[in-house]
Amino acid sequence: MSEASHNYLSAKKGLWSWLATTDHKRIGIMYAIACGTFFLLGGILATFVRTELGTPGETILDQDGYNQIFTLHGVVMVFLVIIPAIPGILGNFVLPIQIGAKDVAFPRLNLASWYLFMAGALMAVFGWLFVGNVDTGWTFYTPYSSGASNAVLWLTSAVFVAGFASIFTGLNFIVTVHKMRAPGMTWNRLPLFVWAIYATGIVQVLATPVIGITMVLLFLEKLMQIGIFDPALGGDPVLFQHFFWFYSHPAVYIMILPAMGIISDLMGTFSRQQVSGYTFIALSSVAIAFLGFLVWGHHMFVSGQSALSSIIFSMLTFLIGIPTGIKVFNWVATMYKGSVWLRTPMIYALMFLFLFTIGGLTGIMVGVLAVDVHLHDTYFVVAHFHYVMMGGALIGLIGGLHYWWPKMTGRMYNETAGIIAAVLIFIGFNLTFFTQFFLGSRGMPRRYHDYTELLENFPEFAALNMASTIGSYILGIGLLMILVYALYSLFKGPKAPANPWGACTLEWTHTGPLPDEHNFHETPLVTRGPYDFHLADDVFGPKEEN
């Protein structure tokens, strides 16, 4: 069989060869299709939200409609896109190859986790379409949720089921990293993306069960009024918030850690030098994973929790800044005196650096107890978390998808189109969300469909909201552009070489343009680190000029 026709895509044909596959690469692609679809759905919902807010008064949605739309936007984006996407798509596709393994440790569990994820997603959509309305926000706070329609039962079950998908993914990666490394792939030769996914796995395994039990208890609260969380029955709604955030704060690290891993890899490859502070970046991922469990109460400063715990949580929150800062400084240092090659993935990496830093710093701001009492439930918080979740996690994902696109599809995309889209996204994103820092710090509350009455005292809200809405359209156009040139590349793009970026990690150096069904012809023997460019010149020729 000729070299070109023998790869993971051509090895088997037909729909069933996908739906029943245990190949980690194919499962990664299936996650990509699923998450991509949900991202489109979530994005459409977001434009509804922004359109409603673009002008004061009722624009396209009434109050109830608005509440339902932003709830669904949040649920879809958090649980069906940002949490599963990077581990599901890139973790699956890249991680086993990067450590020189033939597959993950439990391939069938891997497939099962995709099915669980899809089952969860379908339950959520079913509940929304056919059972009733949910307007609780993605946080499902009681008593909103215990009083909402029966669709809550479907959504909580959906989160429970999708949660187990996340657990199985994380568990699989932890075991894979521990037990499946190729000869010579020592812990300090792991690519930083692997370290990040490993740390993420720890969080997935330790935190996700708690959202599971929270959803079970909420389900029972709604079904038979067990009175744990519902204040009308003697339950404690603040206890619900503890349960929810014990998972959901660590969950924000499930979102961001993998993106940080991507950025580390991109910084090394496109600066063509050793990633500065490798050990610090690697261990700071693990530190973030653990510290992330100690700060959940910073979401509850005005919930009525005890002042003592607010103070403790506020102080612990500041600690998170340390490992995060270590990473940011090391990324900057990696570029210093490197030969930075500005290709689309690297542009996203730089964008990440800029946007995530804003997001992280504003996170510290709202982590200050006295400040957050004013900013909580305003657009300032909305801006903060979009800077980290979209500007951080999602931009990281998009950068990673561009980077690994040639390896996944065997084709190149159009570089010019890539750069134009990136610029549009950058402008659109900042216009959308930077304005929200102004809105929030002046007191515009979140989760309201109208702000007419505020205009009397804050006439600038009209212009700021309009700007934000226009920004969101530009952002949308940029994202759609990616979809268009990605599809074009898939069918018409030029064939990719095995290592278009001159990268040093195994997925580039030891596989063909498209990896084999079982990744390698023979198990690689690893003799150098992931970013030892000076040692790798014998493996691939000098980088092509741009």
Partner: protein, 115 residues
């Protein structure tokens, strides 16, 4: 060969542990019948904890096993305790400032009606 070389725990050890577990069950049942005041709960928890450790180390063979598995278990327990401890840091001190129920504080001014 693989699993053929694994440590086989002698029946004697298993039986002794089983005996101790039964004994501790008896102790906890009996001590719970007498009122030890504030000691009731800690004693019951210490006994339960000891039983759990015995099961984990011997029946689950962690004592003889790869230490990574032990580490995994310890991490799980540690974070369960973190969950408990930081939640109690709220619930045990709920209302430590700004108590607004009538009679709990001497107010020189009328309390502000919330909502």
């Amino acid at each position: 060969m693989a699993q053929g070389q694994h440590h086989i725990i002698p029946i004697r050890t298993l039986a002794v542990v089983f005996g101790v577990l039964l004994f501790l069950t008896l102790v906890t049942a009996v001590t719970a019948r007498v009122d030890l005041g504030a000691l009731n709960v800690p004693l019951a928890l210490i006994i339960a904890g000891s039983k759990a450790i015995l099961v984990a180390l011997v029946f689950m063979a962690l004592k003889y096993d790869n230490k990574v598995n032990l580490l995994v278990l310890v991490l799980g327990v540690v974070f369960a305790v973190v969950f408990l401890a930081l939640t109690l840091a709220d619930t045990e001190f709920r209302g430590d400032i700004g108590i607004t129920e009538p009679g709990t504080t001497e107010l020189s001014v009328e309390p502000v009606e919330s909502e």
